[in-house]
């Protein structure tokens, strides 16, 4: 693994494009800026094409002999299947409004990280093989031949996009680079070109049920660990159930919340809340993953993984599904699940058993976001909260890309946040809500070997956190995304040391006043409620 440059080195970014045109600049695979190749056994487990040992650093990528035909045939098929792709190939006017909206462009200055050029990587091939003018005049209209260099360039840059859709918000034609990147990745996939960091979780999720391959008994162990921890802090023993038929609600969280710090504190928050309100729910070991790295692989793989949610809900006979805090998981649930694997005939329109609220916005999908559920509980006074238990924190909130720009999920988490903590400060308006910046590691890019690129991509987000840290002394970055919880701690340590990262329901767990609880002296993390947290500014 490459050594990571210091922040003061990394921030020397040259935004001036090189003299040579981008088509004449082959990609250089510099360590720290790309992902390792997928191991053949994962491709075999999923039945994906061309499993083999290979590395992006090597000259020979071991493509199948007829690779060009495969890509062009796949391209044609996708043009026929997705109006988005066909339209976005044709209508860009290259106005450049998207350029400095991309966190990877801001963090690298690499012109091919301007969303417009990321799309031109595909468009140049589209023009050459699917338009008359491109076939006839070639480079004059921005067309070029499909070579192995192009394939390598695609791999480098389509895995330097987190599918965050920030550029699509600013595009006057609504061109969505996430669509472009997804198509580019699908085409690469036809040749068996995947990063290991994405395809290993997919293979695990497919067979075992979750990204890291936690088998059912181990999954239970991990949840039981959280149960013990809750008892240590509150004196109350919560009793989650597993694969229980007849429960009213199936709860599915991103598995990162079950096994990784700081996600486990968020998971503890969920369990405490459900216990306190006496929710009739069950966890599933089969559908033990809310996240779906299929979104970063292909539409087909996304569907294959997502199918478990409705299948398990049907098998267990629950009425509806409640989903935990996760970003890309919610893009899949909100914009793809019902279309791919619905209709969810075995389920009922979700109704909160506590408040009677009908979640009409989820009446077809039958899956409710935990923040919608909790905000409704708080609004109806169904839980008692003591926000002073979070007084050790000065909190800011990071809107995760997918809930922000694929749902419009802004007020629900903020409403909860204001009820569970006393000190909440917003980052500058150009960096939050629909304009939020990606953590830099979404879209399946959160591998260690990609650390330099992650720190570059996360720079705009970190910079905004730095702003509220300087101004208000913020020491906690709250979020509703498991990838955020996994990657933001490293990003904060690198750019803004001293800022912790927490899921929203960790703060709910801290503030939740539970019936019969022992007096709380620590947060869920076991840190004293008062004293040490009143940071260096005082």
């Amino acid at each position: 693994m490459a050594s990571l440059p210091k922040p003061e080195e990394l921030v020397k970014i040259d935004y001036n494009p090189p003299r040579r045109g981008w088509m004449d600049n082959p990609v250089e695979f510099r360590r720290g800026t790309w992902l390792y190749a997928a191991k053949p056994r994962h491709l075999e487990a999923l039945g994906l094409p061309n499993p083999r040992e290979w590395s992006p650093e090597e000259e020979d990528w071991k493509l199948p002999p007829e690779w060009r035909e495969i890509v062009l045939e796949g391209f044609k098929e996708r043009l026929e299947r997705f109006r988005s792709l066909k339209l976005f190939m044709d209508i860009c006017s290259r106005c450049g409004a998207c350029a400095d909206k991309c966190h990877f462009f801001i963090g690298t200055g690499d012109p091919r990280n301007m969303p417009v050029l990321r799309a031109e990587l595909l468009r140049s091939i589209y023009r050459r093989y699917f338009t008359l003018s491109g076939r006839m005049t070639g480079k004059l209209v921005g067309a070029r031949d499909l070579t192995e260099e192009v394939i390598k360039e695609w791999f480098y840059y389509f895995y330097q996009c987190t599918e965050c859709r920030r550029c699509s918000l600013f595009c006057p034609f609504g061109i969505d680079t996430a669509e472009i990147t997804m198509m580019g990745r699908e085409l690469l996939g036809l040749l068996g070109i995947y990063p290991d960091w994405i395809i290993a979780p997919v293979a695990n999720c497919y067979r075992v049920g979750n990204h890291v391959g936690i088998e059912p008994h181990a999954f239970r162990d991990m949840v039981d660990f959280c149960v013990d921890e809750i008892e240590n802090v509150t004196g109350i023993r919560v009793e989650p159930t597993f694969n229980r038929k007849g429960a009213e609600i199936l709860f599915i969280a991103p598995s990162g919340d079950v096994f990784a710090d700081p996600g486990i504190y968020t998971f503890m928050g969920y369990l405490m809340l459900f216990h306190e309100i006496g929710l009739d729910y069950t966890l599933s070991t089969y559908a033990s993953e809310g996240g779906n790295f299929g979104l970063f692989t292909s539409h087909e793989v996304m569907k294959r993984l997502n199918a478990k949610m409705y299948d398990e809900a049907r098998r267990l006979g629950v009425k509806w599904i409640l989903g935990g805090e996760c970003g890309h998981m919610w893009r899949v649930i909100h914009q793809y699940m019902d279309t791919m694997n619905g209709p969810a005939d075995s389920l009922e329109e979700p109704v909160s058993p506590l408040t009677g609220t009908k979640f009409e916005n989820a009446r077809s999908t039958k899956m409710v976001h935990i923040c919608e559920f909790t905000a409704d509980l708080i609004r109806h006074g169904k839980i008692q909260l003591d926000p002073s238990r979070n007084d050790v924190f000065k909190v800011t909130f990071h809107d995760s890309c997918n809930p922000a720009r694929a749902m419009g999920f802004f007020e629900e988490p903020r409403y909860i946040l204001r009820k569970v903590c006393n000190r909440f400060y917003e980052m500058p308006e150009n960096t939050i809500r629909e304009q939020t910046f990606c953590c830099g590691s979404g879209g399946g890019l959160n591998a260690d070997e990609n650390m330099e690129m992650r720190m570059r991509g996360g720079f705009p987000r970190a910079n905004a956190v730095g702003y509220v840290r300087e101004k208000y002394g913020v020491n906690l970055l709250a979020c509703i995304c498991a990838i955020d919880r996994a990657v933001l701690p490293a990003l904060m340590d690198y750019w803004v040391p001293g800022v912790g990262v927490a899921g929203l329901h960790e703060l709910v767990g801290n503030a939740l006043v539970m019936k019969g609880e022992a007096e709380r002296t620590t947060t869920l993390r076991g840190e004293p409620l008062k004293g040490s947290g009143d940071d260096e500014n005082t």
Binding site: V11, Y15, P17, G21, G47, S84, L85, K86, L87, D90, I91, S93, R94, C95, A97, A99, P111, M114, V116, T131, L140, V141, S168, L169, F170, F173, G174, D176, R207, P216, H217, R220, F242, N243, K245, T285, Y286, K308, D311, R315, H334, Y336, D338, T339, P343, N361, A362, R363, T365, E372, A375, D376, R379, G408, F410, Y415, T431, F459, N463, Y467
Partner: protein, 330 residues
């Protein structure tokens, strides 16, 4: 290279028209044949484009949400930036098409020492684009006076407002100025903003040079050189009513203007200018964000291989039983 080539293309066009009209005397070809070819290519090309886009389905509901969703009844949704109903979508599309809503969000990111990233006010692109497109529309409407008899009242109405400035006895149309300013601005930013220069293709310069040529020749005719307006109208009406004839006394400047418009029309369907039609179809804007409330159907949805619960239990049954997790088959 792109700039020189594009300029040369337009230069050659102007030269060819001049040559055809002045030297070869092909007035009928330029004045009366070319427009039919151009309009046919334009209409045919645009229909081909729209049908082509329309033939590909929209498998998933993927709006980019620019505001609060409709969820709980006490949370105010952002009904235009994140519409959940058809009416909201119409509103969002109207804002997008008429006022360039998304471009209005534009900012400019700048890295300062510290490091501090700052996001600066940058509405010039929005303003320039808006000024150009609206000017273009109004100029086209004004030109209807040449193609209609009697001239509809809304054309006079537009002329009246547009020409409220007077130079001597003649109206000075504001849109003549703003159109040229708009095009010039769009061109200059391609020259001077390094990133925009880097991404610009000949296909970005050609339309701008064409528009500049059309605008300048029009302005020259109207304000400086002069043209027999009655004769021009006779020609235009003749073409429109399929009784084309070429009146005497029309100078070459008009043919250049007319010929460049034909070139633009014929080029339109094969250029990035198709964004005019495409914007209506863009799936990140023209769909309501209601995919959890109403099921969106994908016409090519196909069954996929999944790992079933039975297969899962088969592999892990003993471990599940030991951990006290219920199983289907004991």
């Amino acid at each position: 290279m792109g700039v020189a080539f594009s300029l040369a293309v337009v230069g050659v066009l102007i030269l060819a028209i001049t040559l055809a009209v002045e030297v070869l005397g092909l007035r009928f070809l330029v004045g009366a044949v070319l427009p039919y070819v151009a309009v046919a290519v334009f209409l045919g090309g645009m229909v081909y484009r729209l049908l082509g886009w329309g033939r590909s389905p929209v498998p998933f509901r993927i709006p980019t949400t620019g505001g609060q969703q409709r969820s709980l009844p006490w949370i105010k949704p952002s009904s235009l930036d994140n519409p959940s109903s058809t009416a909201g979508v119409i509103g969002r599309m109207a804002l997008e098409i008429l006022l360039f809503r998304s471009l209005f969000r534009n900012t400019k990111a700048e890295l300062h020492g510290g490091p501090h990233l700052a996001y600066h006010w940058e509405k010039w692109l929005w303003l320039g684009a808006l000024v150009f497109h609206w000017s273009m529309l109004l100029v086209v409407i004004r030109h209807l006076r040449f193609f209609t008899d009697p001239v509809p009242s809304f054309v006079y109405w537009v002329e009246g407002i547009d020409g409220f400035l007077r130079v001597g006895l003649r109206a000075l149309y504001l849109t003549d100025i703003t159109l040229l300013l708009g095009v010039t601005y769009l061109l200059l930013r391609r020259f001077f903003i390094p990133q925009v220069r880097y991404i610009s293709l000949p296909g970005d310069y050609v339309p701008l040079f064409l528009l500049l040529g059309i605008g300048l020749s029009g302005v020259l005719m109207r304000y400086f050189v002069g043209v027999d307006v009655a004769a021009v109208k006779e020609l235009a009406l003749g073409v429109l009513t399929f009784r084309p004839r070429i009146p005497e006394g029309i100078g070459v400047l008009f043919y250049i203007h007319w010929g460049l418009v034909c070139a633009l029309l014929a080029y339109f369907p094969f250029s990035k200018l198709v964004h005019m039609g495409g914007i209506f179809l863009t799936p990140t804007r023209n769909l309501p964000n209601d995919s959890r409330a109403r099921r969106h159907v994908n016409p090519w949805n196909y069954p996929v291989k999944v790992h079933t619960y039975e297969e899962y239990e088969e592999e892990f049954r003993e471990k599940m039983k030991l951990a006290g997790i219920p199983v289907e088959k004991e």
